[in-house]
Structures are given as structure tokens and as C-alpha cells.
């Protein structure tokens, strides 16, 4: 994975894992790699990897069971909510670009629906 070195790396790895969880690439209740393995998989500092799990836990997407490791939450509603939230944020970024370009909401909608503009 290529990182943008100007923004926090924990956030970028967290977003990658969140996406995997949101789309079911990592299933509810699935065991996640340990902190050290995560660090090796992404070639990131182990402290950064630990931060990724802390933040995922804060968002209710994973849970650490003492001595057992970290697991994807079994809460399907929580996962659905996070998926929707990620989609909403992506839409906001899109709309902000359209606003900058002076593209109206109607035109933007036509772009999304791939109707000829």
C-alpha cells in the first residue's frame, strides 16, 4: 500500500481495514492479524499499527479479547452504519468538488446516473 506521507498513516491503514470490514472482505467475528503482523503486512511502525486497532475499537468496529487478539465486531448493524457513513463522506467530497467546478446538483446527479450530459 502506498501512503500519503502528509496525513497520519494510522488513519490510512484504518480506512483500508474499515473498507474491508464494510464490504465484508473481513467478516463479523473474524480474527484480525496481531499488531505486529499488521505492522509487517503494511510495513508500518508497530506503534502505528497499535493505534489503528485503538481507533477501530473506538468506532466499535473491532474488539480486543484479552490474550486472544483482536476480532471484527459481531454487530452487523454497526458495520452497516459505518459503511453508510463512509459512503456519505465520499458523496460529500464529490459534491464539494462539483461545487468548486460550478456543476449544479442536477448535473451532478446526471453524472452519477451516467446519463449523457
Amino acid at each position: 500500500m502506498q501512503f500519503d506521507p502528509m496525513s497520519p498513516i494510522w488513519l490510512q491503514v484504518m480506512t483500508a481495514l474499515k473498507t474491508d470490514i464494510a464490504v465484508g472482505k473481513r467478516l463479523p467475528g473474524e480474527k484480525l492479524p496481531g499488531g505486529r503482523d499488521l505492522a509487517l503486512a503494511f510495513s508500518i511502525n508497530p506503534n502505528t499499527a497499535a493505534r489503528v486497532y485503538q481507533e477501530l475499537e473506538k468506532e466499535g468496529l473491532c474488539e480486543t479479547r484479552r490474550g486472544m487478539g483482536t476480532y471484527v465486531t459481531g454487530d452487523a448493524d454497526r458495520i452497516a452504519a459505518v459503511r453508510w457513513e463512509m459512503a456519505r463522506q465520499a458523496a460529500e467530497r464529490f459534491l464539494s468538488t462539483m461545487d468548486t467546478l460550478g456543476v449544479s446538483r442536477q448535473e451532478a446527479a446526471r453524472l452519477i446516473l451516467k446519463e449523457d450530459v
Binding site: 498513516i9 510495513s43 508500518i44 506503534n47
Partner: protein
Amino acid sequence: MLESKSVTKMFGTLAAVDHISLSLEKGHVYAMLGPNGSGKTTWMKMAAGLIKPTSGQILFQGQPVNIESRKHIAYMSTEPYFYSWMTVKDVGKYYADFFDDFSYDSYLDLLRQMELTEEMKTSTLSSGMMAKLKIAVTIARDAQVYMLDEPFNGIDLLARDEMRRCILQYATEEKLLLVSSHLVEEMEAVADRAVFIQKGKLVENVDLEEMRTEMGVSMADRYRQIYGHTEE
């Protein structure tokens, strides 16, 4: 774990290291950055106990560095330091004789990861293979501090990836890693802290993720900010 207290090293009238006070803690990977001649190597050699400060002192776990601390501090210098008759196996045995904490099993494991074999003669190794061998033999020690001086120099992209993986494997909570590099980008995601040195002086010792969050800059950007308007 390693503390530099107003350390100065004079070479004639030149202060190679100029009153550096710095505290390095275990559980971190530090990138030590600065242009050529900024004093990184000189500081590392003092921390390794190979040369003495002109004034000030470096403490390892509260005690001044000395012969005893060398048992716990693994240092990889930029100079090549194997006899040309040695095979990769000889290098391992030589280290095993020298250092009680050297693990031949770790060494073999690292050789395998770096695609080196015991039979290879050091005199026939390419510069990239030699660089990998130097890393392998250094981190095969079960030391508390690892100081790697310019490990990425003269090494191709793929070998740098392997090397980063090896460094990360040995970066545990109990250990302290200090890596100097001109190739700042190589250390961007591996290090969690950066120590910037300029003309023998400490500029700053920063948490990289904090810096990205608060300033929106990468380690390379910060490097340019600090050194961009001075001579290399």
C-alpha cells in the same frame, strides 16, 4: 534508555557534535536525519562507545556507555568491516564469538529472507548483498538498542523493502532502534519519531504521526523545511 547529555565532539576546532541533549526511549523506531557532515555518525559512534565525547556524556540505562554497554547496543557502521576471505558463514561465526547475544538461528532466518546463503564469499558480494549481510549480522543480535547508520545506501528498491521488513520484525516494545538515512522516504512509515540534526546541533525530536496531524507535513517535507535553505 539512551540519554545524550550536552554531548560535544571536537575534531580540531570543528564541533562535529555540538551540545546535543537528547533522550531516546525503548519501543520506538527513530529516524536520525540530517545532511552529510551534520554529526549523525559521530553521535552514533559515541553512543556505541567507539569514540569518546570531548564533553558531556551518553548514558545507557543511567550508566555512561562503556565496554559493558556494548554488549547491549548493536551498531552497524557505514564502513565495510569483513575480511575478504570470509564466507557469509564465517561472518556469522565471527559475530557469534564476539557477542553473547548473537543468535545464529536468527542470522540464518534473516539470510533466508534476504536471499543470502552461508557459502557466499564476502569478496564476491554485490554492494546491495553486502548491505543486506551487514544488517542481518547486526540485528541477529538480541540487543536492546540497534543503531543502523545508512542501511539503505546503494541498495535497490526491492532490497530496501526486504530490509524494512526485517527492521520492523525486530522493532519490539523492549527495543530501541535508531536508523540514519539520506533516503528519508524509506523511513517515513517505519519510524514513529524523527531526530533532526543540523551542523552538530539537535533541531528537534518529533512524533511523526503528531506532526502529520498537526502540521499536515511528511517527514520529507519537514526535512526540506529545516535544511532547504542551507548548504548540503
